[in-house]
Symmetry: C2
Subunit: 328 residues, 2 copies
Amino acid sequence: MKTEILKLLRESQDYVSGQQLCETFGVSRTAVWKVMNQLKEEGYEVEAVRNRGYRIVGSADVMTQEELESLLDGRTKWAGQHVVYSDEIDSTNIKAKQLGEEGASHGTLVVADMQTAGRGRRGRGWDSPSGSSIYMSIMLRPKFPPVKAPMLTIVMAYSVARALRTCTGLDVQIKWPNDIILNGKKIVGILTEMSTEIDYINHVVIGVGINVNTETFPEEIADKATSLRIEIGEVQKRAPIVAEIMSEFEKCYEEFEKQEDLSFIQEEYNKLLVNCGKDVCILGAKESYQAHALGINETGELIVRREDGSKETVYAGEVSVRGVYGYV
Amino acid sequence: MKTEILKLLRESQDYVSGQQLCETFGVSRTAVWKVMNQLKEEGYEVEAVRNRGYRIVGSADVMTQEELESLLDGRTKWAGQHVVYSDEIDSTNIKAKQLGEEGASHGTLVVADMQTAGRGRRGRGWDSPSGSSIYMSIMLRPKFPPVKAPMLTIVMAYSVARALRTCTGLDVQIKWPNDIILNGKKIVGILTEMSTEIDYINHVVIGVGINVNTETFPEEIADKATSLRIEIGEVQKRAPIVAEIMSEFEKCYEEFEKQEDLSFIQEEYNKLLVNCGKDVCILGAKESYQAHALGINETGELIVRREDGSKETVYAGEVSVRGVYGYV
């Protein structure tokens, strides 16, 4: 009921009377009053005016199951329509994979306020303190073959970049294939994992970690990591960002599912690509070299021009890319 | 201790005295006597002769943790060195995947006497009654990139075919990519699943289901499925087959890990390939056609010659193959 009350209050231009809430949800005045107190405790500024009713005039950075559900309700068809929220979790990717094995529905979203075993690529750790970041993982059941699945990292990076631009107005960029950059520093990491048979995807999990309200970073990464709060100078609300990402991702995913390639975002993606038109180091297992990044092709590979003028496409599964003079 | 006693009895040419067993394992005569009774109950024929000791003169088809461990001890380095045996399990692949997530070691082997939720490809069911079949799944942690993993199905099919030929002397053949055939009927199915990041394998699970002592099949599959018992006419022991497969697979896997392609078995594999030199139907998502199968290439794809004389390589992730006149 809290989710529905939140949604009703948020969508109403005017005060919503206690009477109306009682009738809509078939509960007592006391029950309504209790919910209002819970909302205040969670960080909502609820104004109560005699003879008029309740109104939400603002909120702190509230991250709860109900906040997420009420923001996503009616906004998407499947992305985040089933939310599994925890204050504390081992890792949202691990949880989403478990839910995938147990038969959870396409688009199930796992969100946590804190991770005790947050993970980056190749099993590396991902520092995940409480209250400051978005830790989210979406579980998908694509019908296309496994070979197409790596393109989903590109789809998610593109969706997150667009969502952050919408929510903050900042010039957020993409570092191919799985990071998001703000003012030359990392603000988002994406970790795609999948469970497949040779010709069949059981499920894909895409984890997104976003530095939102982090105030400081450890010295060793301070020159290459930042947060929205550091860049904007004030606390940002996480839940609306999650909702905006889900909305962007759902649109993008549905188009990708039809086309099974990235031609529909290729041009726009390359405009957001921080590496585009720059010299980069291509780090492969057998060979590393400097090249000029030209952008992604329609399957999400990075096209580069080598120093001898020859063009090459490099695959995210085989190389990593960094700037010639540092991280970007 | 039962595992070690079994191994000692099996390896000894002569009787092993109770005294010797007591001293070797530091236990009482009563403890040894209890183990002998357990072994008899499980189906071993234990001969006990006064003043000489114990000897195993034969056994029924015993499938227990100790039987598997004692057969694998010293035979392989890592394949099946950690055995997880259950009388009844949902699915050995599901269990092996869980163990993979929980950090189990490379080569962990899950074996069950019966599956309640046995699975074939694409989530299809796999009938898994008790006492008659081998249900086994090995969990691997390859260091090569995900794109190489589908070749492991070929490595396993080859290893199973060789092991069954060794154990039974029968002319067992391979149906590309993941079935084993005896006298034109299916006797083994293989299901490879993997958990990956874009450029990194978390783990691979290869499940193998073998019809060993099945007496009859449901009418609808009786013309395309068979068992060792049906073909040979008597009950076969399952545990030694499991051990032989692990031994073959370990050798093959280690070579594959070095080469990262299948050139080292290509010629031998093609000799065992039931489709080789035959007309087959290639069933793709967009196109189906009849062609002449020529064998696999060094990456495990099937080379076929189309009716217009052109050669093509087809990938297990994209097509399925059946005989022109039926299953094989």
